[in-house]
């Protein structure tokens, strides 16, 4: 009951014309930043932070949070329409979303991604409001051994991603893991594989690699196939999902949202891992697993619900403990500090208007996102009818802005082109590129936590802690089973 009155109080803070304007502005900026390959949610927030210094703390946070939540949706737009995931987590959305576009059904992908994003965002926020204090207590107990086990579990999704090409998928993932070790070793501080170059001290940034591997390699591939004919999609007749089709996804969305929120809570795990894992879980539990990767609505729904709900999760440690759960929330901490606010449990007592203002604006931002997204989808879908000869050069200029914006470094632009050419060569030879991204995302979490855990309790610690033991056993099962099934399937095919 107390929560409800506080929440109503929170709404009273955000239901003025000024806060509402900021939410709308934030959602629009977020969608644009998210849709733009290269501007991840955390960068969208970071780029705007300096300009909120002059605002009141509540308004600043409303703006930043609206950007944060809508950027997670924005990433799916370009993922679905042109296979250029705007955010790392939208990589997973592109698996099925872009397939739908190729089948002349971009409306289906965009519709499902919007609804799953907003529902996911809503569920994540509700979990945040109701259980944040209890969840934070669990989050801090999560031991490095368990982070390691979670990362290994995340890596096993390679087995699902690869399909029949599992050997190549596996190689791609390990390649991602290996190049992830380039740079200053986060545990010992030694520089590894940098060849004396300052640019490599922080390793390759994820974003340029992602843009190169996905967007650029796709453009190269299309140019090679001389695939310039825009599909004759009659935009007036583009099919959008019916209510029944949405309704069928209810359990997928619910499950993925809960999974996404929980994974989002653990500092450092984040939206991308949430999307990968819940996609994997959805595929394993689906009645139509064979449709995944070929335009499954469940696939799009689970990825988008998970990455949007992880926002709520990532805010749990931030608001309750003052500890950032993701790159974006780390930026939010800075935004709080410049306004003389100390993030942490005392914020609930000292500045409830901030906390409940954040809660209320999260809920409102989702509603605004839904409305703007419904109108916008009619617009986004038009990207698919832009003549390809114009679109491809444009994708490149966008990629340049995106890779440069990460740390304002020219090196990243070159890296992006390098990854683009390399990704094109790999795809020509039937290597999937998504596992490389998975390797880059998970490599650091897996390695640092593995070594931290051993430093803290020796090698036996992974088996001594029940949660890590269970996760590792699950990982073995989930890795082994698809491979085994593939083998059986191949044998059957041979004997037929």
């Amino acid at each position: 009951m107390e929560i409800l009155t506080n929440l109503l109080q929170g709404f009273s803070f955000v239901l003025g014309w000024q806060p509402l304007l900021f939410i709308v502005l934030g959602v629009i900026m977020g969608i644009l930043a998210g849709a733009m390959p290269g501007l991840s949610p955390s960068m969208g927030v970071a780029l705007l932070v300096p300009f909120t210094y002059a605002m009141s703390p509540t308004l600043a946070l409303i703006l930043l949070i609206s950007i944060y939540i809508s950027a997670n949706y924005g990433g799916s737009i370009t993922a679905v329409t042109i296979n250029a995931p705007g955010t790392p987590s939208a990589v997973v959305t592109s698996f099925d979303g872009y397939e739908l576009t190729k089948q002349n059904k971009p409306g289906m992908g965009l519709g499902v991604s919007l609804i799953s994003s907003t529902v996911g965002g809503f569920i994540g926020t509700i979990i945040l409001i109701l259980f944040s204090v209890q969840l934070a207590k669990i989050a801090v107990k999560f031991h490095p051994a368990e982070y390691f086990a979670l990362a290994v579990f995340g890596l096993t999704t390679v087995a699902t991603l690869g399909g029949r090409n599992w050997l190549k998928a596996f190689i791609a993932a390990i390649f991602g893991l290996l190049i992830n070790t380039i740079g200053i070793d986060p545990i010992s501080g030694v520089s590894r594989f940098t060849f004396g170059s300052v640019n490599l001290y922080d390793g390759f940034s994820l974003i340029p690699a992602l843009i190169g591997l996905f967007a650029l390699s796709e453009v190269f591939k299309q140019i090679e196939e001389q695939n310039f004919k825009s599909k004759k999609i009659d935009l007036g007749k583009t099919r959008w999902p019916s209510f029944l089709e949405y309704w069928k996804l209810k359990f997928t969305i619910l499950r993925s949202s809960i999974l996404g929120t929980i994974i989002g809570i653990f500092p450092g795990a984040g939206a991308t891992i949430a999307a990968f894992i819940s996609y994997d879980v959805s595929k394993r539990t689906s009645k139509e697993p064979e449709k995944f990767g070929k335009g499954s609505l469940e696939g799009v729904a689970s990825a988008e619900a998970a990455n949007s709900s992880s926002v709520g999760g990532a805010l749990v440690p931030l608001l309750t403990l003052g500890i950032p759960g993701s790159a974006s929330t780390a930026v939010l901490i800075g935004a709080l500090m410049i306004h003389d606010l100390t993030p942490g449990p005392q914020l609930f007592n000292n500045n409830p208007e901030i906390i409940y203002g954040i809660f209320a604006s999260l809920l409102l931002a989702n509603v605004v996102l839904l409305i703007l997204g419904l109108f916008g989808s009619k617009l986004w879908v038009k990207v698919t009818v832009v003549p390809k000869k114009i679109l491809y050069p444009m994708i490149f200029t966008v990629s340049i802005i995106g890779s440069f914006a990460v740390r304002y470094s020219f090196f990243d632009i070159i890296a992006c082109l390098g990854f683009g050419i390399f990704g094109w060569l790999l795809r020509r030879n039937n290597y999937p590129v998504a596992p490389i991204v998975l390797g880059i995302v998970l490599g650091n979490i897996a390695e640092t936590n593995f070594r931290r855990a051993v430093m803290m309790g020796g090698y036996k610690i992974f088996l001594a802690r029940p949660v890590s033991l269970i996760l590792l056993i699950l990982a073995i099962i989930s890795f082994g089973w698809p491979l085994l099934r593939n083998k059986l399937y191949n044998k059957k095919e041979l004997s037929n």
């Binding site: 210094y53 190689i171 590894r192 449990p345 200029t397 304002y408 050419i421 593995f450 430093m455 803290m456």
Partner: protein, 506 residues
């Protein structure tokens, strides 16, 4: 009349000339850039922006804060030293930069920089979790002796200030413990709250906002006024631990003219004495001081000595030895290795191309590439120090040992595989042409900036792909430039590359 006019003109010229000589020193005549070595939102970013806000009370100068994140400040320092020593670029730095300079072998930076002003200092302190059994300094000591080197301390990166302070504390207190480094101070604090370690080293500000955290000991001569409960090391019987602190300040390039230096000294002095400035930091338990160039430079040199000592001790810096491995540590030899491997790869490519396997060339070269890359990385992994239980080499080697056999399997499979009929090479040529155009575009961006080169690239790319409506191509290109200017540059504040030549002209 004419004479009068002439006289007036001459007078004006003379007056103007007088004014010119009077105003010979007119600094600043253009905006001053403040380089910050992290992204927006970090403490140093906030420091820089707060400084700019307060400074605007005392000067009409315009300041632009520029975030140049990367490599713990090395990227930003390089940028500072590339620009002329004209006072129009200053760098907001912290003691962490010294640790980075030392660990990356960049001692030359220290002498190339004028350490202009140290503006604040936060004493280092040991923080414990109240809910943990070990929740005070005496408990910490007893527990450390009991655990005999296995006590766990958490904190940020290895070799950073907090780690070095911990090493010092252990040395002076005569205990041994283990440092568990986390990605950031915040994540380490989470681990402390989760009772995964018993102590955390950081600054007093870290306990603010969380009732469960408590300062067990602080490295300061006197107790800190916002934390009257927290004892100093001297009170706890640990000598020589009363002056460990994190500092932040501003520096510029050495060789900046005397008058400009005096201008900055004056500004730093005024800002330091500003009540708003002092109050803002006092709330965060940060000590506002002002140390001028001479004293600051001395402090920096002491810090350098200290970091060198401790970084050698924990193995991040190694003393030179003369064998193959230490040779490989030299980037020159590393790049040589890279070059040789590239040559080998090229030779292999040519051999395959002229053999009967040419139809499979791609499917053979990719596994070969992975194997060569793995071998390079394997060789280099011997240069990592191996002091810890799981050294830096363990995990990369794990990936290498998986990558090599898997690729050998693929290679064997593909050698056996039947040759595929050669694809039509016309379209591949188009891809290569397009790639060439992209490389030209990148060069254009580097020298001429985003807008000019995009203006040429877009039409060129569109026409190359065979689009033939010239007017619409022009409109699309101009429209895109406007769109990217307003949406990316103005609305989302993405700093687009300006280009070296344009920068020089400006």
């Amino acid at each position: 009349m004419k004479k009068n006019l002439l006289f007036l003109l001459i007078m004006i010229i003379i007056l103007a000339a007088c004014k010119q000589s009077e105003q010979e020193f007119s600094f600043p005549e253009k905006p001053i850039t403040v380089i910050v070595y992290t992204g927006p939102g970090g403490l140093i970013d906030i420091t820089a922006r707060k400084f700019v806000a307060i400074a605007s009370k005392y000067t009409d100068a315009t300041f632009v804060v520029e975030n140049k994140p990367g490599s713990g400040g090395i990227v930003a320092m390089k940028r500072l030293l590339q620009l002329p020593a004209d006072g129009y670029t200053i760098f907001a730095c912290t003691k962490s930069n010294i640790s980075k300079i030392v660990s990356s072998g960049g001692e030359a930076y220290i002498d190339a920089i004028n350490w202009a002003a140290m503006l604040m200092a936060d004493p280092e302190c040991v923080i414990v979790n109240k809910q943990n059994k070990v929740n005070s300094w005496p408990n910490l000591l007893a527990d450390a002796r009991k655990k005999n080197g296995k006590q766990l301390w958490v904190g940020p990166a290895n070799g950073g200030l907090d780690h070095v302070t911990a090493l010092k504390i252990w040395e002076k207190a005569g205990i041994e413990a283990r440092w568990i480094p986390f990605k950031s101070g915040g994540k380490a604090l989470a681990a402390l709250l989760g009772e995964q370690g018993v102590a955390y080293v950081g600054n007093p500000r870290d306990v603010l906002g969380n009732d469960n955290l408590k300062i067990a000991a602080v490295s300061s001569e006197k107790r800190l006024s916002p934390f009257p409960q927290a004892p100093t090391f001297a009170e706890l019987g640990i000598e020589g631990m009363d002056n460990e602190y994190m500092w932040r300040g501003f520096v510029y390039k050495k060789g900046t003219p005397v008058k400009i230096r005096a201008w900055y000294d004056d500004l730093f002095h005024k800002v330091t004495n500003d009540p708003d400035w002092q109050n803002y930091w006092k709330q965060g338990a940060i000590d506002v001081t002002y140390k001028k160039s001479d004293e600051f430079t001395q402090i920096v040199h002491q810090d350098k000595e200290e970091f060198t000592h401790y970084l050698q001790k924990i193995g991040i810096l190694s003393k030179e030895q003369d064998n193959f491995v230490s040779k490989l540590k030299n980037p020159v030899y590393q790049n040589l290795l890279l070059l040789i491997s590239l040559l080998v790869f090229l030779i292999v490519t040519i051999v395959i191309k002229s053999s009967s396997f040419q139809g499979n060339i791609g499917s053979l070269l990719i596994p070969i590439f992975f194997i060569i890359l793995s071998l390079i990385f394997f060789l280099l992994s011997f240069t990592f120090p191996s002091k810890e239980e799981v050294s830096s080499a363990v995990v990369p080697r794990l990936w290498i040992f998986l990558l090599i056999p898997l690729n050998i399997i693929v290679l064997i499979k593909n050698v056996k595989k039947e040759q595929v009929v050669k694809e039509s090479s016309v379209s591949s040529k188009m891809v290569f042409k397009f790639m060439f155009l992209l490389i030209l575009y990148l060069l254009g961006i580097y020298y001429l900036g985003y807008f000019i080169s995009t203006f040429f690239f877009l039409p060129a790319g569109i026409l190359m792909l065979g689009y033939r409506k010239y007017w619409s191509t022009l409109f699309i290109s101009l429209g895109w430039l406007l769109f990217s200017y307003f949406i990316f540059y103005k609305l989302l504040f993405v700093p687009l590359p300006v280009g070296k030549l344009i920068e020089m002209l400006l």
